[in-house]
């Protein structure tokens, strides 16, 4: 796996956050909505990308054969956190083919939290420390 230099810092950041003695509320909300233990890896085409607070969103049309869910709403961290792990506001565009690792909503709705994204050029980015690591590759 190829992971960008800044992405690696993101991983270290996640490790460091685990050691923090006093980590209060996350900047926006708890991640308990997502099923971290049943992560999915899928490939799809971006139909919408929003670089906004409190979260960045990727709308992904699932291109995998036989996929039950055709459209995923994928929540990412926010521009500040993503900047610090190497993202750029314009690095994802409508029409891009992405491979993502996601933690789906526990309700079964077609929404998820991003864990890792692979861009068309092969670069891999994490979703920053609070969102946690991809458990599958």
């Amino acid at each position: 796996m190829k992971i960008s230099g800044k992405g690696r810092i993101g991983v270290a950041l996640a490790a460091a956050a685990g050691l923090a003695t006093a980590a209060p509320a996350l900047a926006h909300h708890s991640f308990a909505m997502y099923d971290n233990d049943h992560q999915l890896k899928l490939t799809g085409t971006v139909s919408h990308f929003q670089w906004t607070n409190p979260h960045v969103y990727i709308e992904l049309e699932n291109g995998d054969a036989g996929a039950k869910v055709k459209h995923w709403t994928i929540e990412c961290a926010n521009p500040g956190i993503l900047d610090r792990v190497g993202w750029k506001f314009n690095m994802i565009k409508v029409g891009d083919k992405l491979t993502v690792v996601i933690a789906p909503l526990r309700t079964g709705e077609p929404g998820a939290l991003l864990k890792q994204v692979t861009l068309p050029d092969g670069r891999v980015f994490t979703n920053g420390a609070p969102a946690g690591k991809a458990l599958i590759q």
Binding site: L13, A22, A32, Y34, D83, G86
Partner: protein, 257 residues
């Protein structure tokens, strides 16, 4: 290859900073005479891969909040409810899930960077999340409990005690939870002692007093590293797709915008 490229870019960036470094004072805003220079961006600094954590940034364990028995029971019950809601996958919506800032004192945890501005008669602290702004009026008298208009950040006055900025805050809104979501009363009073413990390390020793709610003052500390050259980002909470159900649980809205 990407790693090497990024490292090269980082080296080039440090070289560029080194070049502009010596010239910077000529353009920098003058430090206020007699005040240590605490201006600029501050935040948690995380070790690079393979590097040990900076021991200067270790805040040590957080002492348990010395809540009076009734409040302690209420706080424990709330935390149990939060735990159950998390297990159910419907976490309790805090202020942030409603796009509201965390206010004093939690903003000083600085989940995102802080920026400090020193101007005559004032120290201003901006937290990147929600662009929260605290204004600390130097040399002004503090108001009285019950007479200060309540706000998310309270009313803060400060003075320099040698190398330490001593800040006194009261008037924090009822609806703003205390640190770690403890309750507070209108008698809550926060004292901060902010000082450089190294040229690039800033410490905030915070003491929360609240005679109605706490058995005795609750003290803890935050430590920040100077983020040289960091430019604060804007934060407008414009695209909140989380919503709260009638039971206070948080959900995510799915589907194209």
């Amino acid at each position: 290859m990407t790693i090497i490229r990024t490292c090269k870019a980082a080296l080039a960036a440090s070289a560029a900073l080194a070049l502009i470094g010596p010239a910077a004072p000529a353009f920098a805003a003058a430090t206020i005479a007699g005040q240590p220079d605490i201006s600029g961006a501050w935040g948690h600094a995380f070790p690079r891969p393979g590097q040990p954590a900076d021991p200067r940034l270790n805040t040590g364990p957080l002492p348990a909040p010395p809540l009076k028995p009734d409040y302690m029971a209420g706080w424990n019950a709330m935390r149990e409810k939060q735990k159950q809601a998390d297990e159910k996958g419907e976490p309790t919506a805090g202020l942030e899930a409603r796009c509201l800032p965390d206010g004093m004192p939690t903003l000083m945890f600085a989940i995102y960077p802080l920026e400090i501005l020193q101007t005559p008669g004032r120290v201003t602290i901006i937290e990147e999340a929600f662009s929260q702004t605290r204004r600390i009026y130097l040399g002004e008298a503090q108001g009285k409990v019950g007479e200060v208009e309540p706000g998310y950040y309270g009313h803060s006055v400060g003075r320099w005690d040698g190398d330490t900025l001593v800040v006194d805050t009261l008037g924090i809104k009822d609806s703003v939870p205390g640190y770690r979501d403890i309750p507070h009363s209108d008698e809550e009073h926060i004292t901060e002692r902010i000082r450089l413990i190294d040229p690039d390390i800033l410490e905030d020793r915070m003491t929360v007093e609240d005679p109605k709610v706490l058995e005795h003052p609750w003290s803890f500390r935050f430590v920040y590293k100077r983020l040289k050259g960091y430019h604060m980002l804007e934060y407008v909470c414009e695209n909140n797709r989380e919503y709260t159900d009638p039971n206070g649980g948080t959900h995510m809205q799915v589907g194209s915008p």
